[in-house]
Amino acid sequence: MTERIVIVGGGTGGTVLANRLTDDLAAEIDAGEVEVVLINDTPEQTYKPAFLYVTFGKKELAEARRPIADLVDTDRVDLRIDRVTGLDTDAKRVSLETGTELAYDHLVLAMGANLAPEEVPGLMEGGHHFYGPEGAEKLRDALADFEAGHLVLSVIGVPHMCPAAPVEFVLMADAWFRERGLRDEIEITYTYPIQRAHGIQSVADWATELFEERDINLETFFNPEEIDPEAKTIETMEGESFEYDLLVAIPPHAGSDLVTEAGLGDDGWVAVDKHTLEATAEGAEGVYAIGDVADVPTSKAGSVAHYEAGTVADRIASRVRGQVPTATFDGKTICFIESGTDEATFVEFGYGDQPVVRKPSKLLHWGKLAYNESYWLTARGLI
């Protein structure tokens, strides 16, 4: 009987995993013993780190998209453009929007995170964001018109995708307005929910020093509860009322309702063993989660999805071959961090590690730009 591996989500995690599986299990797939099904609700994958550059007019959205069919071996992967509407871990079956029921032996959830700006009253009307394609384009237009006033970057949603991006945004905005001769007319404020500028202490220390050097205000213990788009004020849980002219928010994020309904985790994030990435809910045998939808104590970042996919591919391949799986994920996370428009730094860490923030350089900035182009090789499982 054919053993079926179903991957839900064709983002970084899903495509890297499909490619790793078709490499590892090519012989079994060709012999008809194993089938890999990859389900995504759109035919294209979007490289989300490009949004940051779109806002400053340095990239176009079209450059950030590729057909998933070009990223996986469609001779060995059954790619279905469909939406999963139901998940039954007892029957080991998923239901698709088009009416199909699909049984699985191994199920990997890789559907990412969703934006939920509606959770903060007034945010959709009063704030911008760069965490989705439409938002990034709208913000690009607003920034191009913004020549004087108070620009506030507020980190509202936690956890959120790409924890470095808010810091990158204000550092890039500072440099970009200076280049355009507008910086003296624009005040920039960065707000963060806890008592420092970032969840990771060493990144917070590094960013705080740079903010001081570059005249970027820092507000901590700042948790917006409501936005008044008319008065242009942010009301916080801490009782403050804060004025802005242009608000760029990191909106609240939400996991998947499918996950909650299937009893796999709270708030839509899948509860997993942080090393094996196997779902911990009772009865969820053969279920894994990778990428943003997995509840692990590290960043929701593409590099995490990438490395997690490698671990899960190894574990599934071992099980298919009747071996005991031994591959584990150690929390490896890698982030390039732009610190202006022509310099960047880089951090690498695992579970519980405090990363060292290297001195920013042009070389690392070029490294980040080069990786933005070569990312598609990662999606194809090559680097």
């Binding site: 936690v158 924890p163 990771i200």
Partner: protein
């Protein structure tokens, strides 16, 4: 005293490094009704001052802290006020 507290919501942030226990707590408090009692479980020693500092700033009530020495974590009890 805090051993007698019965939380409505338990937040297990043991082992969390990023975004961290305080952010886990803030996210849950934001969505809860006034009067909800939370137990935040944390292995991060800095939570013992970060969390009370935020709770005071946001005007909620710190009900107590239990140290689970053998298991190596703390339970911090908080009640959301209006």
């Amino acid at each position: 005293m805090s051993e007698a507290i019965q939380p409505d919501v338990t937040i297990d942030s043991r082992g969390a490094t990023c975004p961290g226990p305080l952010m886990d707590l803030i996210g849950k408090v934001k969505k809860a009704d006034a009067g909800t009692v939370f137990e935040l479980q944390t292995t991060d020693s800095s939570s013992s001052h970060d969390v009370p500092e935020w709770v005071e700033k946001a005007g909620h009530e710190l009900l107590g802290v239990d140290e689970h020495e053998e298991e190596g974590y703390w339970s911090i009890f908080i009640e959301k006020t209006e």
